[in-house]
Each structure stands twice: as structure tokens, then as C-alpha cells.
């Protein structure tokens, strides 16, 4: 190995980024970048990279991906900083491809015609995101830099989508046809998922404390919450309709509260039931795994059980408990989409409407925000868990 290669500030070539860049390059040339549809339902005609955005655009995309490939392989200083700049700039300007595509191909004076995102574009988005994650890992950067980069990319997307060039995109059209419903779905979705998580967190905490206090509770509680988890979600939603209807019939008071056999009430019940297992398990394990020697020391120094709990056990258990909340939240956001089947609302209603109308872009209008919410919840709660970790990582 020559001396230029072994210089300490030259990191070894990165295989992950190069493989990702190469795959993206191949797929973006092979697959359709976008589709032009004469109206909402009829399948349209696909356009590959070259046809979609012409030679200059195709060259630019190729250049960017080849650039990533080369930077990842060649001996360079600041390899990951350059990669970070290139990849995040590509991600931030990605919607421009769709703008150019629409401008080139959308027929004039045909009000129903629309452009749709093709698999090539999705691949590009997916592989660039993976590259970004790998680069973040290699840079060993703090959360601060990651947040800034992600915020810049998201900001750029929001700005580009609010601008003029993209309103022909069928996804945007589906949104523009129902902005109120979209907002309502967002709030319903959040209320259901977060409400279920909050209720189950409280319930799980009480159950976990009870399990710690008395051995008799331990097995039954764990069996019941595990059993709840094994029932298919759709079945739980369905199964709850009959008993809830009967209940409301018997107690009209419940009806006044808005509880019915279908709607938010059974959805909420089912979501809480599903959330219980990860919550209870994490809370219980976290609280019981505080080393007995620490509790012994605290007790021996004169702490009472209350002080031991609040000053020792809870602070040490909190990161693991938050981890349980994180898993549960992501799961609940996904399950809430299914709950639309029993009329609970939320983004799931777009998905099922879209499926019913064979309008794939309406499905996307429901699916994409659901994914975004899950990712956002994951990021926020991971950060919370990290900030709660008892001590700075050492050794």
C-alpha cells in the first residue's frame, strides 16, 4: 500500500455508499422515472430517465450518482463531508426532477391529465436516503448536524411542493382536492395513536408496579398482554364492534360520549390492547433490572422505598421505558391506519378509499404521511431516550 493511501486522515474506501450509488444509477436508468396519466384512473405511459427529463437532466443525475461512487472509492480527504454535501443537495433538489418531467410531458389544455411518480424516482429517493444514513454513521456526527441536514432537505421539499411546478403531480392533486380532510385525518390519526400510547403507558406503569409488588400478578398480566398481541389487528377491530354496540345499547350515556360500535372507541380500545405488551414488558424489565446492590446501598444509607423509587429506580429505568414508548408509538401509528376500516378516520381512510377507487395516488396520500409520522416519532423518542441516558457515554 502506498503512502498516500495509508495517511491517517484518509479513510478507507466506503463500500456501502459505492454499492448504493451504483444500484441507484442502474435502477434510475432502467426504471420509469415518472408516468403521465390522461386522467385519475386510467393507467398512463411511463417515461424512463432520458425520456422524462432529457439529456441535460439525465446527465446531471448520472453525474451526481457517479460523483458519489467516485468519492466513496477514491483516496480523498474529507470524503464523508463531500459525500454529505453531494447527497443532501441531491435529496433536497430531488422534486425538481418531477417539475422538469411535468413541464416537458404534461399535455397542454387537458385539465385531467396528471403526472405520477415512477419507481425510478422512488428508488432514487430510497437509495439516497440510505446513503445519507450511512454517511451520518461514518461521520459520527452529533444529533445537531443530522437535524440541520434533515430540516434543510424537508424545508426544500415543502418549498418546492408549495411552488408552481408540481401541482400537476397526481399526489398533489389528490391533496388539493381535499385539504380539509387531510388536516382532519392528520389530527384524528395523531389523536388516536398518541391517545392510545398515553393511556397504555399509564396503564402499563400501574400494571408493572403491581407486578413488582406482588408475584401473583406477574404471570397472569404477562400472559394476557401477550395474548392480546397475538390476535390479528383486524380481528380485534371487528370483534369489538358487537360488544361495544351492545354496551351502548344498554347504557345510552355512552352514546352521548360519542361511543359507538364503530368509530374511534373500538379503535382506541384495540390500539391500547396492542400497545400494552411492549409497554408493560419494557417498564417491568427496566424497573426490575436496577441492580440490587444499588438498592441495597441506597437503603443502607437511609433511603426509604419512595426515595429509592424516585431517585434511583425510575431514573435508571426511564431510558428503557421510553424505548418501550418509542416502539409502541411507531406500532400504534401504523395500526391506526388499519383502524380506518371500522370508521375511525385518520390517514387509513385515504388508503382504503384509494384502494376502492383504484387510485394509487390517493393510497399514497394516506401511506406517505403515515410513514412520515412514524419516522418523526421514532426520531423524537430516540432523542428523548438518548438525553435521558444516565451518564455521558464513556470508556
Amino acid at each position: 500500500m502506498s503512502s498516500t493511501w495509508s495517511t491517517s486522515d484518509l479513510s478507507p474506501p466506503n463500500r456501502v455508499v459505492s454499492v448504493l450509488a451504483l444500484s441507484a444509477l442502474v435502477l434510475v436508468w432502467v426504471l420509469n422515472l415518472g408516468t403521465i396519466l390522461p386522467n385519475r384512473i386510467v393507467p398512463g405511459t411511463g417515461h424512463g430517465l432520458l425520456s422524462a427529463i432529457g439529456w441535460p437532466g439525465a446527465m446531471l443525475v448520472t453525474a451526481a450518482l457517479s460523483g458519489c461512487l467516485l468519492i466513496a472509492l477514491l483516496p480523498l480527504r474529507f470524503r464523508y463531508v463531500s459525500l454529505l454535501i453531494l447527497v443532501s443537495a441531491s435529496l433536497a433538489t430531488l422534486p425538481l426532477l418531477l417539475e422538469v418531467f411535468a413541464a416537458r410531458h404534461l399535455p397542454e389544455n387537458s385539465p385531467y391529465a396528471r403526472s405520477s411518480i415512477g419507481s425510478g424516482f422512488w428508488c432514487l429517493l430510497f437509495f439516497l436516503s440510505l446513503m445519507l444514513i450511512e454517511i451520518f454513521g461514518r461521520l459520527g456526527s452529533g444529533r445537531g448536524l443530522q437535524l440541520i441536514v434533515v430540516a434543510v432537505i424537508c424545508g426544500s421539499w415543502v418549498w418546492l411542493f408549495q411552488g408552481d411546478g408540481l401541482e400537476s403531480l397526481s399526489l398533489v392533486r389528490e391533496f388539493n382536492a381535499r385539504p380539509d380532510k387531510f388536516e382532519q385525518a392528520l389530527w384524528t390519526h395523531l389523536a388516536l395513536a398518541l391517545g392510545a400510547v398515553t393511556i397504555s403507558a399509564g396503564l402499563a406503569f400501574v400494571l408493572a408496579l403491581q407486578m413488582i409488588r406482588s408475584v401473583a400478578w406477574r404471570r397472569p398480566v404477562l400472559s394476557v398482554v401477550s395474548f392480546l398481541q397475538t390476535i390479528p389487528s383486524l380481528a380485534v377491530f371487528g370483534l369489538l364492534i358487537a360488544p361495544l354496540s351492545a354496551l351502548v345499547e344498554a347504557y345510552p350515556v355512552l352514546q352521548a360520549l360519542g361511543i359507538r360500535g364503530i368509530g374511534w372507541a373500538p379503535a382506541m380500545l384495540a390500539l391500547v390492547a396492542y400497545s400494552l405488551l411492549p409497554m408493560v414488558r419494557n417498564t417491568y424489565v427496566a424497573l426490575t433490572e436496577v441492580p440490587e446492590s444499588l438498592a441495597d446501598a441506597g437503603r443502607g444509607m437511609g433511603m426509604n422505598e419512595r426515595q429509592l423509587f424516585f431517585r434511583l429506580k425510575l431514573p435508571l429505568a426511564l431510558p428503557v421505558i421510553v424505548e418501550g414508548v418509542r416502539i409502541t408509538t411507531i406500532q400504534a401509528i401504523g395500526l391506526t391506519a388499519v383502524a380506518a376500516l371500522i370508521g375511525a378516520g385518520g390517514f387509513g381512510s385515504f388508503i382504503f378509499q384509494g384502494l376502492g377507487q383504484a387510485a394509487m395516488d390517493l393510497v399514497l396520500l394516506g401511506a406517505l404521511p403515515t410513514i412520515a409520522l412514524a419516522l418523526l416519532a421514532d426520531a423524537l423518542l430516540s432523542m428523548l431516550a438518548a438525553s435521558l441516558r444516565p451518564t455521558p457515554a464513556t470508556a
Binding site: D296, G298, G300, M301, G302, M303, L312, T394
Partner: protein
């Protein structure tokens, strides 16, 4: 003063501690020594009521501990355990401040006390106060453990194999530290160990325990000279006793003093007044000399110790 009267501790049908009686005078270091499972830790943990007594009674300064609030009792007893038991999510300063905080001392007094104690234990507060336990070495962490136990200036110190998990050199250092601190603060101390050398070094009196009973309770010298049973004799090491006895006696007690302390010649090697006769003998053997100069703590030469004197005095 701590008095144990016919104290018994049973776990189910097995008897961990069997009708032991023991008096620990104020300011003395009582070391409970014995092999594992002999009931020494159990005895210690009954003193601060971490374990209940099955029978008998324990009096602290004449007061029966079962009539006292257990938390109040423990707040007045420093407690040091093997592996430190420092809270990993608290800084060193906060760990040391634990009991003063429980006692709701004013903030400023707590801060002053933390500084004072870290200094006493040989830890620079400026460097160590804001560290977390995982950032300390084993020896430093156990120093913090001792500082935490001393924080609220308790009358009694309970130490449960505090140096058991440390390497030999660190353990030796901490034992010397403990002797130094004990001379300064004079706590009534109950110290549990399985290491007879540690017991001989630290104890005012040793209680040798076996199968839940106290076999012998006496000064280190008497334990060595007149072991009460074969068990004690084998514990202290039958053949090894001569040297062990020598390690109990100070050079200062046997040296010939000059009328006036002299300034040592440069490069002159010798022993300290506080060193043991065992060490002096070892140095003589190594240097093949019949006598050694003796220095005091300030480095002044105060006399000599000779091989003849040591052999005359005998074990």
C-alpha cells in the same frame, strides 16, 4: 457503642447467625472475619436492620434498634459495600452528598462537606467532583464510597468487604488510608472481611466467625498468640504467625532513639517509625545489614533499629 445480645438470624429453617453476643466499644474497629457463609455479613446487616433479627437484641448507645425508625437509624450509620454501590446516574459530588441531602442540610453546607470529604479521601474535588462513577478507577470509586459513608459524620461506620473487589496494591493503599482516616475521625466501625491479613492490619479487636457463631473475639495480638481453636489457628496461619505478629508492631516501639533527631545523609535508606518490624526485618535481610536508620514522618533521622533488638523482643 454497639451491643449484640444473643442475636440470632434464621432464613427459613437454616440458621445464619446463632446466638452471638458481641460488644463493640465506641471508637474501636471491630473486624468480623471468617469464610464465606459464616454469617459475618448477615451480622453486619442486622446492625442497620437491612435484615430482621429472629431473636435477641441489638443496642446502639444503649438504645434497642428495633424501637427506632430504620431510616433514621441508617442515616446515622455510614454504610460501605463491596463494589461501591455508587449511583451511576449521579456525579461523584451528588453521590457523596446523598445522606446530607436526605437530612436536608442547606446547600452550602453540603457543598463544603463534599469538598472536605473528597480532600480527606485524597481525591481532588476540582478534578473528580463532577465525574460519573463509571469514569473512576476501582480504587477511586471505593474512596468515593467511603466518602459517601462519612458524609453526614455518622457515629458508626459499617463496612461490608469494602476492599474485596480491588487489586492487591489498591487494597493495600486503601487500608493505609483507612487507618489514617480512622485516627482522625475515630468512628465506631464494624468491618467485614474474609482476609485475615486485612483484619490483623485494621482491627482494634477481631471477631472470628464460623458457622454463625463467634469463635474468638480478641485483639489481633491475642488472636495470633492464643488462638482459641484449631479453626482460628489455621485461619491465622500456624507457621506464619511469627512474621504476622511482627507486622503488628511498630519500629518506633523497639528502636533506640537518639537524644536529638539528626539530618539524614543524602541517599541514606532506612525505615519509618510507623513501619512494621516485619518490614524492617525484610529490609535488613535484603541489605544484609544489622541495623537500619529510622526516620520520622518529617524525614528527620530519629534513631536506629537493630536486628539483635528485634530477635531479642521475639514474637
Amino acid at each position: 457503642m454497639i451491643e449484640l445480645k444473643n442475636v440470632t438470624c434464621r432464613f427459613g429453617t437454616s440458621v445464619a447467625v446463632d446466638r452471638i453476643s458481641l460488644t463493640i466499644e465506641t471508637g474501636e474497629v471491630c473486624v468480623l472475619v471468617g469464610s464465606s457463609g459464616c454469617g459475618k455479613s448477615t451480622t453486619l446487616r442486622m446492625v442497620n436492620r437491612l435484615l430482621p433479627l429472629s431473636a435477641g437484641e441489638i443496642l446502639v448507645d444503649g438504645e434497642n434498634i428495633t424501637t427506632m425508625n430504620p431510616e433514621q437509624l441508617r442515616l446515622n450509620m455510614g454504610y460501605v459495600i463491596q463494589g461501591t454501590g455508587l449511583f451511576p446516574h449521579w456525579t461523584v459530588a451528588r453521590n457523596v452528598a446523598m445522606v446530607p441531602e436526605l437530612l436536608k442540610w442547606p446547600r452550602q453546607r453540603i457543598d463544603e462537606r463534599v469538598q472536605e470529604l473528597l480532600t480527606l479521601l485524597g481525591l481532588d474535588p476540582a478534578i473528580h467532583a463532577e465525574k460519573y462513577p463509571q469514569q473512576l478507577s476501582g480504587g477511586q470509586a471505593q474512596r468515593v464510597g467511603v466518602a459517601r459513608a462519612l458524609a453526614a459524620d455518622p457515629n458508626i461506620l459499617l463496612m461490608d468487604e469494602p476492599f474485596g473487589a480491588l487489586d492487591a496494591i489498591t487494597r493495600e493503599n486503601l487500608q493505609l488510608e483507612m487507618l489514617r482516616i480512622q485516627r482522625q475521625v475515630r468512628k465506631t466501625t464494624v468491618f467485614v472481611t474474609h482476609d485475615i491479613d486485612e483484619a490483623l492490619k485494621l482491627a482494634t479487636r477481631i471477631a472470628v466467625m464460623d458457622q454463625g457463631r463467634i469463635i474468638q473475639h480478641d485483639t489481633p495480638e491475642n488472636i495470633l498468640r492464643r488462638p482459641a481453636s484449631d479453626f482460628v489457628e489455621s485461619l491465622v496461619g500456624k507457621q506464619d504467625r511469627g512474621l504476622k505478629l511482627m507486622s503488628l508492631r511498630r519500629v518506633g516501639d523497639l528502636m533506640q532513639r537518639y537524644p536529638q533527631a539528626a539530618i539524614p545523609e543524602p541517599g541514606e535508606e532506612g525505615v519509618q517509625e510507623d513501619d512494621s518490624l516485619r518490614l524492617a526485618l525484610s529490609v535488613m535481610l535484603w541489605q544484609d545489614s544489622g541495623e537500619l536508620p529510622v526516620f520520622n514522618g518529617d524525614g528527620a533521622k530519629t534513631g536506629v533499629v537493630t536486628r539483635e533488638r528485634i530477635f531479642q523482643a521475639g514474637a
